[in-house]
């Protein structure tokens, strides 16, 4: 019985679970697919319902995870295979080639400041680019860069140039790096870790707007998704927190938010409610108003689901104090008017029984929360189950929401279904608690003393 846990996924759920276990004195191995930890929370600007700056509350945690002597961090890594069972899992990990020797790199940033080549950034949701050598942001943990071989000029030209007896192009980063950390010959590496329990916290993706052709299907530059808008609001984002629309950099004076975009829509594959978007839409409309005082925010909604502590009050504040205009009804079509450059939003207003049309400068789609696209493979590799929508299944939804269908494997965060940060963190602590009680039992295996028969509240069993 190995009292060590592996946490798969380094979002807020995985971090919280790893910290809870590590702070109880047990070791945690945290595996994150991206070059640094934080998950989607690292993309957010400010968080409902407190409007705390997301980076400010996240950074102390990422730093703690990064420095914790009981947390072994594998970033840019994923699980290859799992053998064994509860108490003794043998997990094989694959770490992608970073092309930078992180043991030597000091994180000075010279390389990505000087790199002359850019690529589209998933992290910036298409709103801004990144370099061919990059980190996910100034606060990244670990703050060490990786090279994208599909964007790096050196690596792209290498085979051809060397065949001609010439040197590959560029190589600026290698020349400028003060510690000589660049390794163009890097290759993936494999590791094996032995743990007694596993927590799955792989989180979510947003549905791609390509799946909603009636909303432009991702072809209209000024129709973006919620995460892209978080990047526009974020002071560490591509516009340094100024709200400017992608097409021409203009400040949008009329902005339309479309709730339930893809959610609650069995025909689009997400029959469920994504649970967080009513709240983050209310937040985003408010934050927009804080940045663009003369602007007008409109929200189209089916109904407002604000079931959480102080959540309804938050939505009401948006309506009454920040002047967000709510229209009850679905949007049926979004298109770009080529003459004016405006984005036309057509929808129903079911309160006055008429159809409405708003000429917007920017449209934000609250796209459905989806499980990770590779959830089926991850589930197969770990021997757990997923439901019809692709979220991980608990052994018992009422009483064991964080326990998977496989002994020794626990679940936390949005990987089990849509939820916000407070709920995610509570679940992560719950999963960590389950693991800790296992470890405690393994170390002190004495059975609890039974109460005497007939004691108050104890029924005799026959």
């Amino acid at each position: 019985m190995i009292p060590r846990v592996m946490v798969v996924g380094g979002g807020i759920a995985g971090m919280q679970a790893a910290l809870d276990v590590a702070n109880s004195g047990y070791e945690a191995v945290l595996v994150e697919r991206l070059p640094s930890i934080g998950g989607h929370m690292a993309q957010l600007s400010e968080t409902f319902p407190t409007l705390d700056c997301a980076q400010c509350i996240l950074t102390p945690r990422t730093v703690e995870v990064g420095h914790h002597d009981k947390i072994k961090l594998f970033t840019y890594s994923a699980v290859e295979s799992v053998e064994g069972e509860i108490g003794a899992f043998r997990v094989r990990l694959r770490r992608e080639a970073t092309y930078v020797d992180w043991d030597v790199c000091t994180g000075c940033g010279t390389c990505y400041q000087k790199c002359p080549f850019q690529a589209e950034s998933d992290f910036e949701r298409g709103i801004g680019p990144r370099k061919a050598i990059y980190t996910l942001g100034p606060q990244a943990v670990p703050n060490k860069p990786v090279i994208d071989p599909a964007a790096c000029k050196y690596m792209l030209t290498r085979a051809e140039r060397e065949a001609q007896g010439k040197k590959p192009q560029c190589g600026a980063c290698a020349k400028l790096c003060p510690t000589g950390a660049i390794r163009f010959d890097d290759a993936p590496r494999y590791f094996e870790e032995e743990v007694g329990a596993i927590i799955l916290a792989t989180g979510y993706d947003l549905m791609s707007p390509v799946r909603l052709p009636e909303y432009g299907g991702g072809t209209i530059p000024d129709v973006i998704d919620g995460l892209a808008f978080e990047r526009l609001l974020s002071s560490s984002g591509p516009t340094a927190g100024a709200v400017r629309r992608p097409s021409d950099g203009k400040t949008p004076e009329t902005i339309v938010f479309v709730q339930c975009a893809g959610s609650r829509d069995p025909e689009r594959g997400a029959p469920y409610c994504s649970k967080i978007c009513c709240m983050y839409t209310a937040k985003q409309a408010m934050l927009y108003k804080h940045r663009v005082h003369h602007g007008q925010a409109h929200v189209f909604y089916i109904d407002i689901r604000a079931g959480g502590k102080r959540y309804e009050e938050f939505v009401q504040r948006g309506i009454h104090e920040e002047g967000t205009l709510y229209h009850r009804g679905k949007v049926s079509r979004i298109y770009r008017d080529s003459a004016s450059g405006k984005v036309i939003v057509r929808g129903a207003d079911t309160l006055n029984g008429k159809s409405t049309e708003i000429e917007a400068d920017l449209v934000v789609l609250a796209m459905a929360v989806l499980p990770r696209a590779d959830a089926p493979e991850v589930a197969a590799r770990l021997g757990v189950e997923i439901d019809a929508n692709g979220f991980f299944v608990s052994r018992n939804d009422e009483f064991e929401p964080v326990v998977s269908t496989r002994p020794g494997v626990y679940l936390a965060g949005v990987a089990t279904g849509p939820k916000d940060i407070p709920e995610t963190v509570a679940q992560a602590s719950g999963a960590a608690g389950k693991v800790l009680s296992l470890f405690r039992q393994w170390e002190f295996p004495s059975p609890p003393t039974p109460l005497p028969q007939g004691a108050r509240g104890v029924r005799s069993t026959k």
Binding site: E214, G217, E267, R333, R336, A339, I344
Partner: protein
């Protein structure tokens, strides 16, 4: 080889030009439309009450006739197509309903007819290449805005004809005839449908938007496959004409008319059929000036601003 054809009431009474151009074009393409014998009205609306077996008797009877005529039926009217196709799907899914109706009609239907729209036959049987090869007078330079409406495509799970949000079947047909496709944002918007009967102002407003949008996108004409759409887009335009013509109409924000044609009429022109087979007499906005220029030269796109 002829194709069993169900004309339906609208094409036999008001939209006769659609019927005429459709028959003529199909015949010219070597697949004449053979009117099925003894047909009656399909009911013209798909009954939404699932237990309403009465309303399914008419469409089932037509399907039975098609079964005898060779297991296939084609239509031009989109409303008929919608009703027949959905009835067919419903009968496939509900053997109980099929049995019940068969018991009543005493004319057993076996439930296996291929219900098609002529557009579908062009795409799947003739192919667009086949159509392109048959064109004698390519409509080069003619800017055509394809207008689908809803009944042709929706509900997509039952109609299974094309993507309901980004359809291409009319686009492809227009291109095969050598014309230029004008994409406009209202091409799959609803025209107001039967509200034309009850609440005239709704389709009138919708129609204005649709026509205006096509016009602003630089279209010479709108092409459709549905007599209801054709009527709803064309008829309200008669009031854009006298007394508001030309500059006066524009200064009032009212636009000049955009002809609304059936795809079969464009086919009749492109296949170089006699004028009588074009069947354009019944249209409100006269499309003939479009075709009197002889060849369709590429002209500059009209200034959008000026028309708006």
């Amino acid at each position: 080889m002829g194709i069993p054809y169900f004309p339906g009431c609208t094409l036999s009474t008001t939209a006769t030009g659609y019927d005429r151009s459709g028959r003529a074009a199909a015949a010219a393409l070597g697949m004449p439309l053979d009117e099925i014998e003894g047909w009656q009205c399909c009911g013209a609306t798909f009954p939404l009450a699932v237990d309403n077996s009465m309303a399914f008797i008419a469409p089932t009877r037509i399907l039975t006739q098609a079964e005898h005529a060779g297991g296939m039926v084609t239509t031009l009217c989109v409303v008929c197509y919608h009703v027949l196709k959905r009835s067919q799907v419903m009968l496939e899914r509900s053997p109980e309903m099929l049995e019940r109706i068969n018991w009543f009609t005493e004319q057993p239907y076996h439930g296996q007819v291929r219900v098609t729209h002529l557009l579908e036959v062009l795409r799947d049987d003739l192919t667009w290449e086949g159509l392109r090869a048959a064109v004698k007078r390519p409509l080069a330079g003619l800017r055509v805005a394809p207008y689908y409406g809803c009944l042709l495509l929706r509900p997509a799970a039952e109609m299974r004809l094309d993507d309901p949000e980004r359809p291409t079947i009319l686009h492809d047909c227009v291109r095969a005839l050598g014309a230029e496709v004008v994409d406009f944002p209202y091409s799959v918007e609803c025209c107001g449908s039967y509200l034309a009967v009850e609440k005239k102002d709704v389709p009138d407003q919708l129609s204005l938007k649709i026509v205006q949008s096509a016009k602003r996108s630089g279209a010479d004409c709108i092409v459709t496959a549905c007599p209801l759409c054709q009527y709803n887009l064309d008829y309200p335009q008669r009031s854009y004409h006298p007394p508001y013509v030309g500059d006066a109409a524009e200064s009032l924000g009212i636009i000049r008319g955009v002809p609304v044609l059936y795809f079969t009429q464009l086919m009749a022109v492109a296949l170089d059929l006699p004028r009588a087979d074009w069947g354009m007499e019944g249209l409100y906005v006269d499309p003939l000036p479009l075709f009197s220029r002889g060849e369709f030269q590429t002209r500059p796109v009209p200034n959008e601003e000026a028309d708006a």
